[in-house]
């Protein structure tokens, strides 16, 4: 198991290198002089020259990449053109709200979607099943910002149960932080829960027709035990796959949601950096999200091995 984990981790390295090549070339494949781009719109020629010298933009491309890559390895991603602060520092400042929002969303999604999908499969073609899948279609087809605004209107504006916007850091207490991300996390979770519930239902439905489920019934096991311990676990691989894919796309959702709810996370940082054409920051957040994706994939692979002994090999 440990060796499996180690292999998967090592397999992530080339991906990350490839991504960094892409990120590096981002600024060089965009038309125009990188130094002018980096200097921003109102820069004087002297400032442009200073940047050219500081970033060694006259060196051959491969040397530039080498230097950039070595810096990146030391987590030095350059400085923001806009604020002059190191990119790493900017990301670290914004990481907490995004992590809290992301993890809450993941937890909510799994808690809603997987039991719902499994139960719908158990009661296939009944009213409960249709209702659940109806919800899933709605959740799936309505964009996250619409759901976000609806939740905002109902729970924040009308009933005043949750804040309209903003984020309370963990330093003000676990509850305050969770309270402040409840609405955005719910908005995001609904979208992904829809997808995951449908896939869970299909996968469990498949498994329920298997001979080994007949065995569990002949053993006299209780329905929840058959459904969750036997069917759901056996259906785990496709479910975990979609959970993984879901969270990969969650990143896009985070960017939108943080804007709707005005949460100062990495999503907001991204949007701000893009509008300001703050290339070093853009590079930084792409690298950050890529690393997050690779981590998610790793977790997915490990979960496969954890739930299905045939994967361990």
């Amino acid at each position: 198991m440990l060796r499996y984990a180690a292999t998967r981790l090592v397999a992530g390295v080339p991906t990350l290198v490839l991504v960094s090549v892409f990120i590096f070339s981002l600024i060089h494949i965009t038309p125009g002089d990188p130094a002018i781009l980096l200097a921003g719109d109102n820069a004087t020629p002297a400032q442009v020259e200073a940047i050219r010298a500081r970033l060694k933009l006259d060196l051959p491309l491969w040397q530039q990449f080498g230097l950039w890559f070595l810096d990146a390895l030391r987590l030095d991603l350059g400085s923001s053109v806009y604020s002059g602060k190191p990119v790493t520092e900017l990301i670290m400042q914004r990481i907490e709200p995004t992590l809290v929002l992301g993890l809450t969303t993941i937890l909510l999604t799994i808690l809603i979607a997987i039991p719902l999908g499994a139960y719908a499969a158990w009661r296939v073609n009944t009213f409960v099943d249709r209702l659940a899948m109806g919800f899933a279609v709605i959740g799936f087809s309505v964009p996250v910002f619409v759901i976000g605004y609806v939740l905002l209107y109902v729970f924040a504006v009308k009933w005043r149960l949750f804040p309209v916007q903003g984020y309370k850091p963990l330093s003000e207490g676990m509850f305050a932080a969770l309270h402040s991300v409840t609405l955005p996390a719910t908005a995001l979770a609904l979208v992904f829960a829809a997808l995951i519930a449908r896939v869970t239902r299909a996968a469990v439905l498949d498994v329920l027709g298997e001979n080994y489920i007949r065995t569990t019934r002949a053993k006299g096991l209780s329905a929840p035990r058959i459904l969750f311990i036997h069917a759901l676990k056996s259906a785990g691989v496709p479910v975990v796959t979609v959970v993984g894919i879901g969270f990969a796309t969650l990143i896009g959702g985070v960017v939108v949601t943080e804007s709707v709810f005005n949460i100062p996370g990495i999503g907001r940082l991204t949007v701000d950096a893009i509008t300001r054409r703050d290339y070093p920051v853009i590079q930084g957040v792409i690298l950050f999200f890529s690393a997050a994706l690779i981590l998610i994939n790793l977790l997915v692979d490990l979960t496969y091995a954890l739930i299905d002994p045939r994967v361990r090999g």
Binding site: K219, G220, I229
Partner: protein, 341 residues
């Protein structure tokens, strides 16, 4: 003959599937008893309703499509027709153990065999995790799995078909049930393993004193293992007798066909099976006929228009056939029957 009350008693069990307009009659008034400690074989071609019979008794048929009627389904003192779902659940796995045809797919792939054996005892007998594991180890030993301690932590895909079927038997026997239902336990296994598994079931029956319903389409297995045999055709039991009586005096046209299809049953054809021409009808054929008429070598004109009644040939031998004497006489010469006389 039968002194104590039977372990299982079934009277006029009928099962049909599907919507009202197009109902498919899978079982038509099936009756039989399983005495304490005996092995009753249920024989018949694919699709004749053997599995449906057992699934109906256990309440395992899909409720929404299966309609079950019966005069009696009695397990000891318990009326299974009136049992609540919860009561039925405690019957399954605890009082009735069940083994299925396909050991390769009958175990949950994501749990160890130890877990799957222990689970039954934890569910029905409230054993602790540790006690259940210890019992599981004993059970693996009982079903003669070599190196049981190591197998306890094996996953099904790490075991051969024969080993998996032994695990299934261990699960079925975990709570020392009074009745074991083995639904074609050896069809998916190779010949030597088949013999071992049958021997194991026969031995365990003796050791544990339980009753067994053995579903099979192999008369050879019936001859070596069973005490009594019920022959099924298209949802009906057409003949039922102690094994020796049935083979000495086969009386139904269909039984005759089965015996003739045994290897070596016909002198001229040593290797090829003499197959009974035609196929089992998809459902119990017309209520007013013998379902086997069209394929029967002994059919009389009346067979197609009147359902032959069950008749007692001797105290323990009953048969629903209009041409019993002719069947018995014709088969008297086959080597298989002669071997039993």
């Amino acid at each position: 003959m039968i002194t104590a009350s039977p372990t299982l008693s079934v009277r006029d069990l009928s099962v049909s599937f599907g919507a009202t307009g197009a109902r498919l009659q899978a079982l038509d008034r099936v009756s039989f008893d399983v005495a304490r400690g005996e092995i009753l074989a249920l024989v018949g071609e694919s699709g004749c309703g053997k599995s449906v019979t057992m699934m109906a008794i256990l309440g395992l048929l899909p409720e929404r499509v299966a309609r079950i009627e019966a005069q009696r389904i009695q397990l000891g003192e318990l009326d299974l027709r009136k049992a609540t779902p919860k009561a039925l659940r405690t019957v399954r796995g605890r009082r009735i153990g069940m083994i299925f045809q396909d050991p390769m797919t009958s175990l949950t792939p994501v749990h160890t065999v130890g877990f799957q054996i222990a689970e039954v005892m934890r569910a029905h007998q409230g054993l602790s995790r540790r006690a259940a594991q210890a019992r599981a180890l004993e059970l693996l030993d009982l079903v003669r799995i070599p190196d049981p301690r190591r197998r306890l932590d094996a996953y099904p895909h790490e075991l051969s078909g024969g080993m998996r079927q032994r695990v299934m038997i261990a699960i079925a026997l975990a709570c020392a049930p009074e009745l074991l239902i083995a639904d074609e336990p050896t069809t998916a296994l190779d010949v030597t393993v088949q013999a071992q598994i049958m021997e194991l079931i026969a031995d365990l029956r003796r050791e544990m004193g339980m009753s067994v319903v053995l579903i099979t389409h192999d008369l050879g297995v019936v001859a070596t293992t069973a005490d009594r045999v019920a022959v099924m055709y298209a949802g009906r039991i057409v003949e039922e007798a102690p094994v020796a009586d049935l083979f000495r005096n086969p009386s139904h046209g269909y039984t005759a066909g089965l015996i003739r299809s045994l290897p070596g049953g016909e002198t001229e054809r040593q290797t090829r099976l003499a197959e009974i021409p035609g196929n089992v009808p998809r459902f119990a054929a017309p209520p007013n006929a013998c379902a086997f008429t069209e394929r029967c070598a002994f059919a009389l004109p009346g067979c197609a228009t009147t359902r032959p009644p069950d008749e007692q040939i001797s105290q323990a031998h009953r048969c629903a056939c209009f041409n019993r004497e002719a069947v018995a006489a014709a088969l008297r010469d086959t080597p298989f029957v002669r071997a039993w006389v």
